[in-house]
Amino acid sequence: MTDIAARPEDDDRAILDQWYPVAFLASLTAGETRVRLLGHDLLVSGDGDGFAVRRADTAALLPARKAHACLWTTLGRPKGDVVEIAEAAEPDRRVVPCGAINVRTSGLRVVENFLDMAHFPFVHTNILGAEPITEVAPYRTEHRVDVDEIWATECRFEQPQAARSSVGGMTTDYAYRVAAPFLTLLYKSCPNDPTRPDVICLFVRPVDQERSVAYPVMFLIDETSSQAELAQFQQRIFVQDRIILENQRPARLPLSPKAEIPTRADSVSVAYRRWLKAAGVRYGAIG
């Protein structure tokens, strides 16, 4: 069934000219897989080690890339290649895809939630935070114009169990990066290496304006935990987030500064919304 309203308008270039994950590479089987991206049905077919992505309606072949444990495609003309993550190339990193998660809300809400520290004690109780330590210390938010990305740096939060490998609580340093409207990642201090941070990515495939699939991928320094343990730790956190995400109203992210009331801890969220609005993003957003 074709639902035109589920697709971006032709001039929503900020959304169309982007790379999107269509599946984890490990989950793709030989034969054809049907996925929906921005209201368009796509057919993904595997032929040994390569994959082809086509539009289901016109059979037009779309660009396809393998990167960061995912298969990526685009409906437009992205300026560059799939997002570069320097740490991903380090040979001793564990690459941990955590399982695709369906979320019934706008992917922009999913990204914004990922950037939020203030919910740790309430939503990820006794893992990423715990009362009474609820304060979000001032941090720095910036729009890096040269790369057109939103960054939040100098973020700190006291956490009971920051990572699967944590023994006891620690103060965790975070840096957040929004590289595209539906693509975000964070760098957080690693319990096993004082010099190199763990990297956790959240790649979002907007299925339509109010449905998304999140692909969390971690690039970790952890020699001891099993792959399943690492993935389960993160999955548990995303499932907790989903309860919030599916109960926010409206489902689409309000871009008007007056629609929802932020506080100081939301400065990265405010910058993200402003950046989306300036880029003319309308898909998955209101006002």
Binding site: D116, M117, A118, H119, P121, F122, V123, E131, T134, E135, V136, I243, I244, N247, Q248, R249, P250, P254, E260, I261, P262, T263, R264, A265
Partner: protein, 255 residues
């Protein structure tokens, strides 16, 4: 069914006092969700027993407050723990413990009244709100039985209860032996003589949506546990009957 009944869109009337919960279903320091017309509500009770109603949306990031919790006699949002007082004003933002929230940060609140075992709320803005309808005389306190959800329009429930669609309250005389459901219960003994008399079940309807009705079931006067359980089973069978007939009616309409 007449042509008009079949096709007239059934408006969910949001005027006046509406029953939003049995008092029994909302223990101290808890919150639940309700809906009157298009207005979604968080109904909560503080530790002293007072009931409040708020718009079911946190002004911060749009989270449903009915999924939150009650802390320090304030309604707290599950997402970031922002707390709202009885007047809907935000008093605490945990991310900034030293910050006094601006007076402009608030949720919309609505009047509530608890009487006859029911919590009533109104969202039509009529001030001062008059009292909700009395279910029984003050001399006969009610005994709450349960809240039951029926996936059918209120008019279908009214029909099954034999009341006019405008009547939101039905009084059903239930002979005890009619609602017994085990063979042993059907064998009255002389000491059950009192129980053989009828009890009056008070059923209050609330249209949650066009296809969803909530029934609040109470018994007039005091009732022993066995009678409460029997009235509860009667309500279940009423639900099953209404839902079955409603499904059949839809099939007929579409043939």
């Amino acid at each position: 069914m007449t042509e008009q009944e079949q096709h007239a869109p059934e408006e969910v009337d949001a005027h006046g006092w509406r029953p939003v919960a049995l008092g029994l279903d909302l223990p101290p320091a808890s919150v639940t969700g309700a809906r009157i017309g298009e207005q979604r509500l968080a109904i909560w009770r503080n530790s002293h027993g007072d009931v409040r109603a708020s718009d079911d949306r946190c002004p911060h990031r749009g989270m449903r407050l009915s999924l939150g919790f009650v802390r320090d006699d304030m309604l707290a949002c599950l997402y970031h723990g922002w707390r709202f007082d009885a007047e809907g004003r935000c008093r605490t933002i945990p991310a900034h413990p030293g910050l006094k929230p601006a007076a402009t940060i608030r949720t919309t609140t609505f009047p509530t009244i608890e009487s006859d075992g029911l919590i009533w709320c109104r969202v039509d803005g009529v001030e001062p709100p008059e009292s909700p309808p009395a279910l029984t005389s003050p001399a006969h306190p009610t005994t709450p039985v349960r809240t039951i959800r029926i996936d059918a329009p209120t008019r279908s429930v009214s029909r099954a209860l034999g009341i006019s669609p405008d009547d939101r309250t039905a009084r059903v005389n239930l002979p005890i032996h009619d609602i017994a459901d085990t063979p042993d219960d059907n064998a009255p003994t002389p000491s059950d003589a009192a129980a053989m008399s009828a009890v009056t079940v008070v059923v209050v309807q609330h249209a949650v949506g066009r296809e969803e009705t909530r029934l609040y079931v109470l018994i007039e006067g005091d009732a022993p546990t066995t009678t409460i359980q029997r009235a509860s089973r009667w309500a279940s069978s009423l639900r099953d009957k209404v839902e079955r007939e409603h499904k059949d009616a839809i099939v007929v309409e579409h043939v």
